[in-house]
Amino acid sequence: MRYEGGQPLPEKRLHPLSWVFQLVGSLGAVIPIGVAVALGAERGGLFWVALPLLLLGPLGALWHQWVYRYDFADDGLVIRDGLIFRNLRQIDYRRIENIDTQRNLLHRLLGVADVKVETSSGGGAEATIRVLSLDDARTLSDTVFARRDALKGGTPADDHDAGEPAEGTTLLTLPPGELVMLGLIDNRNLLWVGAVLGAVMQVVSVETLQRLLGPLLRDAGVAWLDQLGLVVAVLLALVTLVAVLAVGKILSVVAALVKYYGYRLDEQGSDLRVRHGLFTRVSVTLRVPRIQVVHQLATPLHRLFRRVALQADQAGGGGDPEAGQGGARPLAPICTPAQAEALMARALPGMTEHVPEWQSLSSRTRHRLARLWLWCWTALTLPPGLWWLGVHGLWLPLAGVPLALIHGHLYARYTRWALTPDLLLFHRGWLWRRLAVVPRNRIQAIRLTRSPFDRRYRMSELEVDTAGGGLGKRRVRLPYLDRRVAARLGSALYH
């Protein structure tokens, strides 16, 4: 590698076909413009406005390939991006945790790979090199890890070859049967199917469907169709609902089969390595010493099939959006509770031997939650109730009483926490259940919060912060603790 005025000049270049992948990667940004062009084509003039914008994509991709360079400096990987606005990034070999390759169908056809360089800092991969030939990817990974080990002066780690299935103990494999179950449990794409069908319904409209289906029904001997108008509408709605569910579930099963085909969780030294995917082969490495929180999830559907899902938050590398749900890395997208327990013992070695003594929330939780729900219910239902039903609308809040009581009772019953010498465990919710397991030696800070409501009920909320995840639902937050209990727990975690 050359140097110019003290600045390193990296020389290695991307694969000649990189621009294709860069373009595909930025396709998301092009789609709105494409839609605009399609719409604008009718109006004539807009097309010519949008055409240069469309050309920006390929040109940008070519430019990226042209200026992108990387190289191996003495103490770190050097990546230069941009020529006018230069960005020179130096990643210390010792800080590189992992080099993952990712290949979808196109990558496989062309014999290339996306290379992701991960460090322990947060927020995803430190650098994504898109794309390198397989040989270059191998060289990159070998060189980086060889130099890292030389710099560290420790024993060379041998398990960091990119893309090669290395030996190790297999902890979990998912046969197709499990994947079908996973697809059936997963509800995420129902929303999409619903949205698409809703959009279709907007275009087609109920009248058209009635016109189409009306003669059929009349042939079937249904008289007085006009009077049956409401029935037909309700029927149509039901059919649509069932169709959405069926199509959604089928798509979901297919998606699960494609995404998690050949799922394997291996243990290699202190790493857990996950591989899966039919077309896009994904390989994710979880470093056990860096696991911060392990989450176990059970939706009502999970419980119907007697399965749970297991995820881990790792320090740094917020996770790939494709590889996990909202940043968490899946240990097991689906497994039995017994398997989950065994996996947890592997992910948190030596910490799970103590049987947790579960403690419940404050005894006032039931009361507080029931009241909270009742207030929300009243605020939501009273105005429309009064509007449509008049004075009778006043009964609506009463209808919410049983629901609020049941929710308060069940939430308080199923939400509990435990403290063992090594772990803090917190189980939350009764319908959607989530168990968070935090090793005590990973806790970064402890925060006790008392809102005005907490003060009224003599409660506190305790939140622990770790170096991984911790956003959204994966925050480890123990609400509705008795004030004294929370203070004691807080000081136990602090000392």
Binding site: S120, G122, R290, A315, G316, R442, I443, Q444, A445, I446, R447, L448, T449, R450, S451, P452, R455, E463, D465, T466, A467, G468, G469, G470, L471, R475, G490, S491, L493, Y494, H495
Partner: protein
């Protein structure tokens, strides 16, 4: 479990800052009301404007003091505990071994009154930067030095 309070010299700093906000908050609606409303300024409008201005300036005077009374910290062998908040009261405990680095920052206004803000950074995800404002500047420096000096005892990797 007693906590030390920060320097009282910080209250004027916060009051001056709040005063700036209050001028905007009170001035903008009053100005808009006086210029945009088509009616001639009557007694009622004048009273409403006066009331609003009094409320805003009253809060600007009262809040910093109340905030100061609820702000406290304690340094012990484990680390630093910071208590703050008026309505939502937080008490955050940061073990010393978890502190990655720390800053003492001082704005121009703070420099005039000799106070500073101590910032403690952890490798966490939500509470990465924890601020303890309103410390006497020398106290802040001393606190930082104490926290840093004994940090070496950690295992080197605070994750």
């Amino acid at each position: 479990m007693s906590l030390e309070s920060v320097s009282p010299a910080t209250v004027p700093v916060w009051r001056l800052r709040a005063l700036g906000t209050a001028v905007v908050l009170a001035g903008a609606p009053v100005g808009a009301a006086l210029t945009l409303l088509p009616v001639t300024p009557g007694l009622l409008l004048a009273l409403a404007c006066l009331g609003w201005a009094l409320l805003v300036f009253g809060l600007a005077w009262w809040l910093p003091g109340a905030w100061f009374r609820h702000l406290g910290y304690r340094l012990d062998s484990q680390g630093l505990v910071i208590r703050q908040g008026l309505f939502w009261r937080h008490r955050i405990a940061i073990p010393r071994v978890r502190i990655q680095h720390s800053d003492v920052s001082q704005g121009p206004l703070q420099r005039r009154f000799g106070v500073g803000t101590l910032k403690l950074y952890t490798a966490g995800s939500r509470f990465t930067c924890n601020e303890l404002p309103g410390l006497d500047h020398d106290t802040a420096l001393a606190l930082r030095d104490t926290l840093l000096r004994q940090e070496d005892g950690g295992d080197g990797d605070a994750v």
